[in-house]
Amino acid sequence: MIKISVENYSYQNKEPVIKNINITLKEAKITSLIGASGCGKSTFLRVLMGMETGATGQIEFKNEDFSFQKWNIKQKLFSMVPQVPHLLPWKNILNNIIIAISNEKVTKEQKSKEEIAINALKVVQLENHKNKFPDEISLGMAQRVSFARALVLDTQAILLDEPFASLDAHTRYILQEWLANKILETNKYAILVTHDVREALFLSEEIHVLKGIPSEINKTFYNENRNEKSNIKTEKEIISLIGIN
């Protein structure tokens, strides 16, 4: 279990952007954060990644407490799959993964960078495309490469920042199911940030709705029957909660 508690975060010491976000991540499960655009969802992920510093609060993992005051970019708990994969067009798929592999990992695992990258590509079922360049694969495949790249960082949790937002409906549906399976298979913790209510209901058992300025958790939905018809009621309730920005 990873317990995250962000008490307060203000961007460059101005107005607070987020406050009182307490969430608990469960192993092999996706926890969703949902809210209107610009409500501070991505900021929350950036705080977790250590890209934004100066937040107050702490993270609890395996009886260890990490304070946000000391949290920075070198943290080893979270990795991220951003909305746009940003693959390097001059590197093939394999090398796009290799660039994320640290020398420490090579020493620790006693495997070459290439072996590690191929293993990650096997997880995302793209090992046959390892020599292709980003312009030769679809956006859905690029998003899977981005997922593999997050996997080789060996973090506990994967932060998904609207990873399906720019996909077409069909690919989105397939990838959503695929992602839920991969999180289960790799035993990772995951946070999905999205503004798509249906996506959140489809992928996670715990959905936190973010609202207000500064943004905080307005309500938490426990969605134990993922993928069932009773969800329509919950979906409507969440949508009315988010409201119009």
């Binding site: 890209m51 940003h86 693959l87 067009p89 590197k91 360049f133 312009d135 960082l153």
Partner: protein, 251 residues
């Protein structure tokens, strides 16, 4: 039209034009010092080729050395400006202003300081080439950082690796574009600098031919200059195509 015929037709057309010109000039009896017969110009190449070759070699070495130094200096300045915001704030406006300076006017000064040898020409080529390169490099490196800093932070890539694997490759297309424009232009500058005073080189050949009213030799030298400029642009384009094999994907 096939690829080969597409290339052959323009060549044939030019040859036809030259042939027509030759016949017209022969019939019209235009004095040779005004417009020489194309066949006379060909004669110059056949009889004078050793001298033309030696002089071309001088200019080409000045030019290539200058281009090499300009690339080194250009990359260095671009890198400095990318690395330090302070240097960027000083360098950036100067580089922009430098684009509007006609560097040829510095030639007399350069000759006073550096003499009549190769040095002032090399310096002139460095001046004309390095600033466009560094301006483009600085802009592209900064743009690369904007585009990819999220990935660099996310993947915890160290700054050295980020530069060579991400930011530098990103700025290579711009670098080649800048080089392509400045390389052919700078060859002309080197020749013009020789015209103002030199011991040898294509500019001197041109000057002597002009002083003795050997228009055929002048035209021969001009043809060599045009040819080298074209070849250099072609070569840079080819190199760009070989090195920048990738297409920018949407993702």
């Amino acid at each position: 039209m096939s690829r080969i015929s597409r290339r052959i037709f323009p060549v044939l057309f030019v040859m036809l034009l030259i042939f027509v010109l030759e016949l017209t000039l022969q019939k019209a009896k235009v004095p040779e010092y005004i417009i020489p017969l194309p066949s006379k110009v060909t004669d110059v190449f056949l009889t004078d080729w050793v001298i033309i070759f030696q002089n071309t070699l001088v200019t080409v070495s000045e030019w290539l050395l200058g281009v090499f130094l300009a690339i080194v200096l250009g990359l260095f300045l671009g890198f400095l400006s990318f690395k330090s915001e302070k240097i960027h704030s000083i360098l950036s406006p100067l580089l922009i202003v430098s684009q509007s300076i006609p560097y040829l006017v510095f030639t007399p000064l350069l000759m006073i300081w550096l003499g009549l040898g190769m040095a002032p020409k090399v310096a002139l080529v460095v001046l004309t080439c390095s600033f466009p390169i560094s301006l483009v490099m600085q802009n592209d490196l900064i743009e690369a950082k904007k585009e990819y800093h999220l990935i660099v932070e996310m993947l915890q890539i160290n700054s050295m690796k980020a530069f060579f694997h991400i930011y530098f490759p990103y700025s290579l297309p711009g670098f080649f574009n800048a080089l392509k424009i400045s390389i052919s232009y700078s060859f002309g500058s080197a020749v013009l600098a020789e015209l103002m005073g030199s011991e040898s080189g294509l500019g001197i050949y041109l000057l002597r031919a002009q002083a003795t009213f050997r228009t055929d030799k002048v035209i021969a030298a001009v043809i060599v200059i045009i040819f080298i400029s074209l070849i250099s642009t072609f070569f840079v384009s080819l190199l760009r195509k070989k090195i920048i094999f990738w297409k920018t994907a949407k993702h």
